[in-house]
């Protein structure tokens, strides 16, 4: 079988198991919800809770800018979007090993590298596409509600792609963990712990610029140009993706796919 058929199989898996639907709905939901919450719901809520509060104090407690909204959305996606991504793709390899479906492509002559790379390409591209479309929707919504502040869509596109690249890194962690253990829920939980702890450690030790989480910090800046630090963070992230993919292929080669 050629690589095209593997890609097609994973694409069909994404459709049949509603993986694309879940990530698209999840990301779009938060992209559209954040500006609407900040414009419609939160001011009303504050007014009803603190009737005597003056407008200036209220404005200081609310997000009233387009940039603030996009940053809020990016923060939401790291917290909740990560849960959606981790549990949507947690079965990518783990479940196939557990349900002995991975043995079929192996027996039909497919290489392990083909199997892993195909998943990374199909699901990775879908993640980059979804993050980019979602952040553009958030940009449009928050712009209509709060006024357009950002000069052009390039910084927004850049933020979406950086966020997508971070999600691809998370996908590589999921795939690697999937080769180590067969329980998909444990894979999802460990991925979440890994993502949150690595970001926390990066913040505490001030080394986020040298970890994939630095991509998210760079995305939140919503700047037009590219700082030198961004190239380092991107290179480290791509390097780590390659390491995790290679480790997954090596681990799969040593895994007995028929073991019950």
């Amino acid at each position: 079988m050629s690589m095209t058929s593997t890609l097609k199989k994973d694409f069909m898996d994404g459709i049949r198991n509603y993986k694309f639907l879940i990530i698209f709905a999840g990301f779009m939901f938060f992209a559209l919800l954040t500006p609407i919450m900040n414009k419609l719901v939160l001011p009303g809520l504050l007014k009803s809770q603190f009737p005597g509060m003056d407008q200036e104090t209220m404005n200081s407690m609310l997000v009233t800018t387009q940039i603030g909204n996009i940053r809020g959305y990016l923060g939401d996606i790291f917290e909740i979007g990560m849960i959606i991504v981790s549990f949507t793709f947690c079965g990518a390899i783990a479940m196939e090993i557990r349900e002995y479906t991975l043995i079929l492509p192996v027996c039909s002559g497919k290489r392990y590298s083909e199997i892993i790379l195909s998943k990374m390409i199909v699901f990775g591209l879908s993640l980059i596409l979804v993050t980019t479309v979602s952040i553009l929707s958030n940009y449009l919504y928050s712009g209509i509600l709060f006024g357009f502040e950002i000069d052009g869509v390039i910084p927004v596109l850049k933020a979406g792609i950086l966020q997508g690249l971070y999600m691809v890194f998370i996908l590589s962690v999921i795939v690697f963990l999937g080769t180590l253990m067969r329980n998909q829920i444990i894979v999802g939980l460990l991925t979440l712990i890994f993502a949150y702890v690595s970001r926390l450690l990066g913040n505490l030790l001030d080394i986020n610029g040298f970890t994939p989480a630095g991509l998210l910090i760079e995305a939140e800046k919503l700047e037009n140009g590219s700082a030198a630090g961004l190239y380092i963070t991107t290179a480290i992230t791509i390097g780590l993706i390659v390491v995790f993919v290679a480790a997954s292929i090596l681990k799969l080669r040593k895994t007995d796919l028929t073991r019950r």
Binding site: A25, M28, L32, I83, I144
Partner: protein, 70 residues
């Protein structure tokens, strides 16, 4: 407060959000009662899908959907 800011433009902006939420909910409820469920009872899955915004349907599609359908 709310009626003042609920202009046609805002209502139109709210539509995709409502469509995503309601669409997912109806889609999952149809799947629950037509195709069956795994891990929990149908009633409990229906409750999760209706009560937990977005994450409810997502959780159902990942772990609650019956996968052995031909």
């Amino acid at each position: 407060m709310l009626p003042e800011i609920l202009t046609t433009e805002i209502v139109l902006m709210l539509l995709p959000l409502v469509a995503i939420q309601l669409g997912l909910m109806v889609f999952c409820l149809v799947k629950i009662f037509k195709e069956g469920v795994e891990n929990l009872s149908k009633g409990l899955w229906a409750l999760i899908v209706i009560c937990i915004n977005l994450l409810g349907p997502a959780i159902f599609l990942i772990v609650g959907r019956r996968k052995d359908l031909k």
